[in-house]
Symmetry: C2
Subunit: 301 residues, 2 copies
């Protein structure tokens, strides 16, 4: 069994981006980070993104509206960032406080600045094998982990457990693309799937993104499979000072011994998400400089 080290791979990507940004003469890439309220998890995620941006040389512009902001005010903030030609990427940290409509907010972000890849236009482009948009960060992080671990999906059967908009469906679409490294046969299973284990056992590559701690046990995995664990849950653990430990969707202790390669939690897919956000931001900057406003750049409709 080989452990896929997400921290090491993410660090390599960050180093590559740092070198790329260092070579930029003129305005550096700029990522607007919008965090509404003080949700502790969001505070920690946005801080990590800010730090990684700084490490690469990306300008992080922190925007911290109060939890009382209205939908209209937040839309207006997005409009301002859309119009600001010095902003390359816009990230609105999820989840938004209750009362705000995430779908409308995410759909308002200019697709050419949607470095989180959540706009339906960008998801549609992924489905159409069109590289002119942005793929969502966690799914492209999974693809990058596989590519950099020497796993070519061509002709292999990828089983995705979970059909979420953030992970399950986009990663299935990426694995299906007619592209080097992809070209997989793909099955998407979910909570309503009959005979789930019979399907997951067929996976050459199993991507677990169902959000249930330690759901995938050894009997659900074909010996020799590659196992990618996207889930992160807190599991009560009296032996820890915090009273909990982080666990993935995979029961690591039983599955790891039979897997060919497997990602740990933490330290697997998690670190990749931030590095993919940075890669999208650098890409957005490059595209923006290549087609400045007023040029004949064909932006999204």
């Amino acid at each position: 069994m080989e452990l896929i080290d997400g921290n090491r791979i993410a660090a390599a990507i960050v180093a590559e981006l740092k070198a790329e940004v260092a070579a930029v003469t003129g305005r550096k890439p700029c990522l607007a980070l919008v965090r509404v309220g003080e949700d502790p998890a969001s505070v920690s995620y946005v801080k990590k993104k800010e730090q990684t941006a700084a490490e690469i040389g990306i300008e992080g512009r922190l925007i911290l509206p109060p939890v009382t902001i209205t939908q209209a005010e937040l839309l207006a903030e997005v409009d301002r960032l859309n119009a600001d030609e010095n902003v390359d990427g816009i990230l609105v940290q999820s989840p938004l406080p209750a009362g705000l409509d995430e779908r409308e907010i995410f759909g308002r972000i200019d697709p050419t600045k949607d470095v989180d890849g959540l706009h339906p236009l960008n998801l549609g482009k992924v489905a159409q094998d069109d590289d002119s948009g942005f793929a969502a960060c966690t799914p492209s992080g999974v693809m990058e982990l596989l590519a950099r671990s020497g796993v070519d999906l061509r002709g292999r059967h990828v089983v995705v457990l979970g059909r979420s908009l953030l992970v399950g469906k986009p990663v299935a679409l990426l694995a299906l693309q007619k592209k080097a490294g992809a070209n997989a046969t793909v099955t998407i299973c979910h909570s309503g799937t009959a005979n789930l284990a019979a399907l997951t056992r067929q996976a050459d590559v199993l991507i677990a993104a169902i959000g249930r701690a330690e759901f995938v046990t050894a009997d659900m995995v074909k010996p020799g499979a590659v196992v990618i664990d996207v889930g992160v849950s807190r599991v009560p653990d009296a032996t820890r000072k915090s009273g909990y430990r982080l666990s993935g969707d995979v029961h690591f202790a039983s599955v790891a011994p039979i897997a060919a390669k497997i990602t740990p939690v933490p330290g697997g897919v998690g670190p990749m998400t931030v590095s993919m956000l940075m890669r999208n931001t650098v890409l957005a900057h490059r595209r923006r400089l290549a087609s400045p406003p007023g040029s004949s750049r064909k932006s999204a409709p």
Copy 2:
């Protein structure tokens, strides 16, 4: 074995739409049909669409640019139709002559008028379970055939053979949606799939859209499966006056006896495509009247 009669089901939908349009006071729905050049198949398809529109009471506006039209001129034509508030739906008949960039043309159509459902924004909405756009006509025709034949996909394993942008991927995404009638477990196979028959034999519902005449033989189908045949090919046949017959992707003679339900070719999926185009046009008209220009209608970005 039960034959799924696409002609009968499509006729029922046309009758429903006719009744709906008859009740419209004021401006009737309007569908712009753009056909470039005189490709015989395109002439016949557009004629069928025009006739069905007329039958329903939809105004069909035929636009017939010469085969020599340039990309820029065709884009300008699309822009004119986008701006025309009396046009509800725009269909640009595929395939376009060589030299014209279909993707750019389709992507230029206002997503709120994209009744063919080919714009990446509309495909992205399908992937996000968002009903505010338009699903592509052939995939939604497949879903409608299943629904009206009493096939509920919940908990069933749908295997889609083919990953085309027009059929395979969108139909897989529709079958996956969290919606009454859908909620399937979905596998997408294609020309690069290993052990194809082993996968197709697991299908409770097999959707063949690979574009190879009579490719699916009885040994690839589980007895009792529902078989939907999206393919249409011309197969040489000396016994016919025309010298050919139409064939689907399924070897009907051997598969029909073991299937629970099956669509014939022709007369299965084919007639549904036109009726779904009409349904989308009537829907676009209803939405346009509900949110006239200048109102706060949130159109696509």
